[in-house]
């Protein structure tokens, strides 16, 4: 697997969106591997996440996309059997360093999960929780403001504005997922990790979220796992293709979707699309 050369080559070529020379690497994975107990689920992944860009992770089910994503904000720490090797940096700092505060890291690198998981609290409280623990709002009015704008950005405000005090678990699947996105946005992280955030959403909501992702990209860095090639093509600037725990190929999205280097990528993206 000659990803490194691939990458440097592709870097030299430049990126379709941020063609400027000062392309900043926000997060970098260096020979990242993950074990679940004895079993290795991820092997030697070298992957850069660039500032103010959307990086899409694609690949067949079970290939390790979610696993890699969870490494980026150390959510894997919470799985007893999981063990991460290699190095991952955020703004050049090793996030697995002893001095790194994992809580602060997670506040900076937010996450939206594959299965919607709202707290069994009111919709308002779901969104307000993050800002509250991070002390982002001094007054009630500030908090109301944060909640409203987050819900609006997540394209769910209109549906829930009259029932902010009802439990978040009473929403439909899609509504729940959008609520979770709103919740993640509310703490304004630097990087947002999204694990198939739209898998439970209808097209209109999906479109809104994609717009939102595009909008957020101006200020934030986004890593998204998706099964939809089209979505990857639409929202991301860079795409990484995983297979069986290996990073097969990584590069500018348009290049990946037009002239992939790897046979497997080729096969995968020319499969029947969703």
């Amino acid at each position: 697997m000659n990803i490194m050369t691939e990458q440097s080559l592709e870097n030299a070529v430049g990126d379709k969106v941020n063609a400027k020379s000062n392309e900043v690497i926000k997060m970098r994975g260096d020979k990242v591997g993950v074990f679940y107990g004895e079993k290795q689920a991820l092997f030697d992944v070298d992957l850069d996440v660039r500032l103010n860009q959307v990086t899409a992770l694609i690949g067949p089910s079970g290939c390790g996309k979610s696993t890699f994503l969870r490494c980026l904000n150390r959510m894997n720490d919470t799985i007893d059997s999981a063990r991460v090797i290699g190095k991952i940096t955020l703004d050049e700092e090793d996030i697995y360093d002893k001095n790194i505060d994992v809580v602060e890291l997670r506040a900076r690198v937010g996450m939206v999960f594959q299965k919607p998981n709202p707290f069994p609290k009111s919709i308002y409280e779901n969104v307000a929780y993050g800002p509250r623990i991070h002390g982002l709002a001094k007054r009630k009015a500030d908090m109301d403001q944060i909640v409203e704008s987050s819900l609006k950005k997540a394209a769910i405000w209109n549906e829930v504005k009259d029932r902010l005090q009802e439990p978040g678990t009473g929403l439909s699947g899609g509504q729940q997922q959008r609520l979770c996105i709103a919740r993640a946005i509310a703490v304004s992280p630097e990087v947002i990790l999204m694990d198939e955030p739209c898998s439970a959403l209808d097209p209109i909501a999906t479109a809104r979220v994609e717009e939102l992702i595009d909008e957020l990209r101006q200020n934030y860095t986004i890593v998204i796992v998706t099964h939809s090639m089209q979505q990857a093509a639409r929202v991301s600037q860079r795409t990484a293709m995983f297979h069986l725990g290996y990073l097969v190929e990584e590069g500018a999205t348009d290049k990946m979707f037009t002239t992939p280097d790897d046979k497997r990528t080729q096969d995968y993206i020319t499969g029947r699309f969703g």
């Binding site: 505060d101 809580v103 602060e104 623990i133 991070h134 002390g135």
Partner: protein
Amino acid sequence: MSSLLVLAIVVAIGLVAFFIGRQRAAAQDNGKVKPHSRAHYHGWWAFLLGVLPALLLLAVWAVGSSVYLDRHIHAALPERTVDSKVASEALDVSLVKSLARGLRKLDAGTLAGLPASFAELQPLLAARGVALASDTQDYMIPIAVEANKVQDRLGLFGAVVILASSIAGAFYALRQIAPRARARNNVERLMLWGLLAASTIAILTTVGIVLSMLFQTITFFESVSPMSFFFGTVWDPRFAAAGSGGSQGQFGLIPLLAGTLYIAAVALLVAVPVGLMSAVYMAEYATPRVRSVVKPALELLAGIPTIVYGIFAVVTLGPFLRDLSAALTGGSPFIQGQSIFTAGLVMGVMLIPVVSSLSDDIITAVPRAMRDGSLGLGATRSETIKRVILPAALPGIVGAILLTASRAIGETMIVVLAAGVAANLTINPFEAMTTITVKIVNQLTGDLEFNSPQTLVAFALGLTLFALTLVMNIVALYIVRKYREQYE
């Protein structure tokens, strides 16, 4: 200065530190640097640094100064000779200490003109309600006075040191306050230590229990051989001076052990099916209203004092079963008035809510998706419960059952009344048997001589039971680990 006063001052310092800390941290948040921790964490950190080390010091100081005082008194006491009036040096010291404590009750005037002989001093102290042994000697009076002075000095010095450390701690914490300082992590680390400490209380309790029984157990085994205790099949301890010739008793554990396990098994046979089915019914079938009435109603069963169950067994259930069995065979009853069966039954009833309430909570907590998944496949409710929900809830249910079994083993009153105190060895559930706990209580609370093997055997029994349940729990832990099913 009294420890209580020092304590209050330390807490006050901590509170002040809390408010200052919070204030400072909030003031430093100018929006330029993202603060690591919220202001109140800084406050709490200052509080904790101000209070905790000081408290620790307080405890150490208290222990240390009392040790020092002991030594001081030791040194001051006259050389011991054969005809010393007090039996032992330790007793000597404790007499001085109680005297010193007594002297504190006197007012300054009396203290100034303290009589030199105990005979004169005693009425003064007695008037203040101070109990002193008649062995207290005259030479102890000056030593006690001196000891009090030393104690005062130590107390004052300690208070100064402690307060200084409190202030220093608070200052140190306040100095640390900076936007990037990790106050939250510090506070949480301390909280974690607190949580850890809480969980070690269980171990301390165990150590305490073992220690409080160990020495007497050893004494017991000095007069009774472990072999005859652990493998003896006859329990007949007798009492120390009974009978002609002071016959030694027999301390066979086996009948008691068998009775314990037998009765517990019967109780579990009643409590587990009934409790579990009740839990299932409450969680899966009953309407919320019914559930909200039935659950607490059943919990009442757990709260009825066991003596009431015992009396019920003796007065109502036992005779009823006996007469019933007599009626069935048309003559002699095959169920005795006191029997394993009666005891197990009544105990089982008492334990129903332990199983049902805990299991109900656990069953209710199984995610809805599990139920939907099974029902969607065309499973009936009972199939869903039996094959999906109960297995998913198994670890918790096993925990509940274990708790039930534990209580069944530890129960005394019901057994005494319903199954009797006769240490038989039988397999017939309709006969009387007794349990280890019953014998522990009886040997401890009887008219028996307290340092005879007859009483000491209670400690050996207690320790044995302790070891026994320990093994049982280790096995259970292993089983639960093996069959644990994790949902989601």
